[in-house]
Amino acid sequence: MQSAKGTVFKYGDNVDTDVIIPARYLNSSDPAELATHCMEDIDKEFIHKVSRGDIIVATKNFGCGSSREHAPIAIKAAGVSCVIAETFARIFYRNAINIGLPIIECPEAAQAIEAGDTVEVNFDTGVITDVTKGTSYKGQAFPEFMQKIIAAEGLVNYINQK
């Protein structure tokens, strides 16, 4: 697999799917349109500042709440290359893997990395490097079963290959 490298947007605990993509925009399922409202209710500047490849770092229970797949779709379509968190809510975790948005759990990295840092993630090794601070962390590797889904770039391709 590849690696990700970008500038960090940092958030706290319990970032819910209602702030990632508010329900008032769920009358659309177009990724590009959803992306224009990504993180709108928690960070109005996000969509104006984010560049392709950037990384979201948050602490506990990222993506809690609704099962809307529109949340990881909006993040991916906004150009984010990876989400690092202490923990993810379970439906968001599944959804991210199923649509091919790389996510990685690493409590130490989630705590230490700050907004604006440049961070590099190697998906093969799970190593997260904070280039700005010169520190690195070992994230949790995916179980083999999930690696297969990720390698196929999502559940649909995985099923088609089977």
Binding site: N14, D16, D18, V19, P22, A23, R24, L26, N27, S28, S29, D41, I42, K60, N61, C64, G65, S66, S67, R68, E69, H70, P72, I73, T87, A89, R90, I91, R94, N95, N98, I99, P143, F145, G154, L155, V156, I159, N160
Partner: protein, 421 residues
């Protein structure tokens, strides 16, 4: 080492004698559910798969409920997409507006969810059916697509937390207070990735509607599912509503739980979750200040069932909502609506100055039918009070039971029936 109730159901559906927490399995599905927001994405994904239609036309339920009756053109297009897919694939359980309801109230009522089932739904509150002793959990649209195509889903077998319920709740304390109390105790990620297994003699003191409310909000503690043992009350509910065969699973005596809690229902008080997380709970006795409220919503997949409406009507009977109060009552299904009408509950609501809407998820997720302006406050029987959930990012939602919500509508501030004159 024994298995929990959830683990036993999953093992049986994976064709395995034994499973343990953390194991990855592929399980057969008894029902795959989607709504008007999540199904269009799933349908698009399914069309990319090399499959010839759905796995079983009777084992898929499509329930347009979030933005119906269609709130705008885009929502209408989504509903049209779901309707045409249902027709094309001859889906038995597609529910058009006249026979619909909020999915998690509708499906048990229609007899589509029974004990022992494995159910996935592209809606986070799919965990509701644990009240009947089923394993049911929320997933996203791609999982729904894969489920519709193959009849299977992958799961990581969850560890469990045991909640031993004892005692009998006092008057005006209901299932909502039980689950808000638990979420306040363990936090919004307190059951992350785990099953919440409710046991104990106190369960006999909870109605089916109480149990649906409790299981419904397992997700608000991060839980994968919430599940109740199948007792006589659950069996009689299934016999009344369903022709499907059910199967009762019981946890092994030596099943392993990560944590165990004893909840004495007799000590619980009306409980309210303050903005902006369901874990920010206070009992009514802990609220010393006046919290003035602009709107009250009584409804949703959490609290739009008949028991809920009966309690609200009991409070509102012979009373009137406070001046300037907007009180919105939403029966969760057409059958509940009709029964509420026959019992005179709707008359009570309207005479009290509330409005009654056709079934919809509408205001719960800030869709329509009760959006909040900047600075407004709502007491709601729904399930989430996140920032911006019901409207403006600077509005506030207080989650509560139907009793507290109805009393707050009368008082114009957060209250409970025992405080009304």
């Amino acid at each position: 080492m024994g298995m929990t109730m959830t683990q036993k159901i999953l093992a049986a559906h994976a064709g395995l004698e034994y499973v343990e927490a953390g194991q990855l399995i592929e399980a057969d599905l008894d029902l795959v559910l989607g709504n008007d927001i999540t199904s269009p994405v799933a349908i698009k994904e399914m069309e990319k798969m090399n499959v010839d239609g759905v796995f079983h036309k009777d084992k898929i339920a499509l329930v347009p409920d979030h933005f119906v009756p269609n709130k705008d053109i885009k929502s209408a297009e989504h509903c049209k997409c779901v309707r045409e897919f249902a027709k094309r694939n001859e889906i038995t359980n597609y529910f058009e507006v006249g026979e619909m309801g909020i999915e998690h109230a509708l499906l048990p009522e229609k007899g589509l969810t029974v004990a022992g089932d494995v159910i996935i739904g592209a809606d986070s509150h799919t965990c509701t059916y644990g009240a009947l002793g089923a394993f049911s959990t929320g997933v996203g649209s791609t999982d729904m697509a894969a489920g519709m195509a193959t009849g299977k889903a992958w799961f990581k077998v969850p560890a469990a937390i045991k909640f031993n319920l004892v005692g009998k709740p006092a008057k005006w304390v209901s299932g909502k207070d039980v689950i808000l109390h638990i979420i306040g105790m363990i936090g919004v990620d307190g059951a992350l990735y785990k099953s919440m297994e409710f046991v104990g003699e106190g369960i006999q003191n909870l109605s089916m509607d109480d149990r649906f409310t409790i299981a419904n909000m397992a997700i608000e503690a991060g839980g994968k599912n919430g599940i109740f043992p199948v007792d006589e009350l659950a069996v009689s509910y299934m016999k009344e509503h369903s022709k499907k065969e059910y199967k009762i699973y019981e946890a092994d005596e030596d099943a392993v739980y990560d944590e165990e809690y004893i909840i004495d229902l007799s000590t619980l008080r009306p409980t309210i979750a303050f903005p902006h997380l369901p874990e920010n709970t206070k009992t009514i006795d802990e609220i010393k200040e006046d919290i003035v409220v602009d709107q009250v919503v009584i409804g949703s997949c959490t609290n739009g069932r008949l028991d809920d409406l009966r309690i609200a009507a009991e409070v509102l009977k012979g009373r009137h909502v406070a001046p300037g109060m907007r009180c919105i009552v939403i029966p969760a299904t057409q059958a509940i609506y009709l029964q509420a009408m026959e019992e005179g509950l709707l008359k009570t609501f309207i005479e009290a100055g509330a409005i009654v809407s056709t079934p919809t998820c509408g205001p719960c997720l800030g869709g329509y039918m009760g959006i909040l302006a900047e600075g407004e406050r709502c007491v709601s029987t729904t399930n989430r009070n996140f920032v911006g959930r019901m409207g403006h990012v600077n509005s506030e939602i207080y989650l509560a039971s139907p009793a507290v919500a109805a009393a707050s509508a009368v008082a114009g501030k957060i209250s409970c029936p025992c405080r009304l004159g």
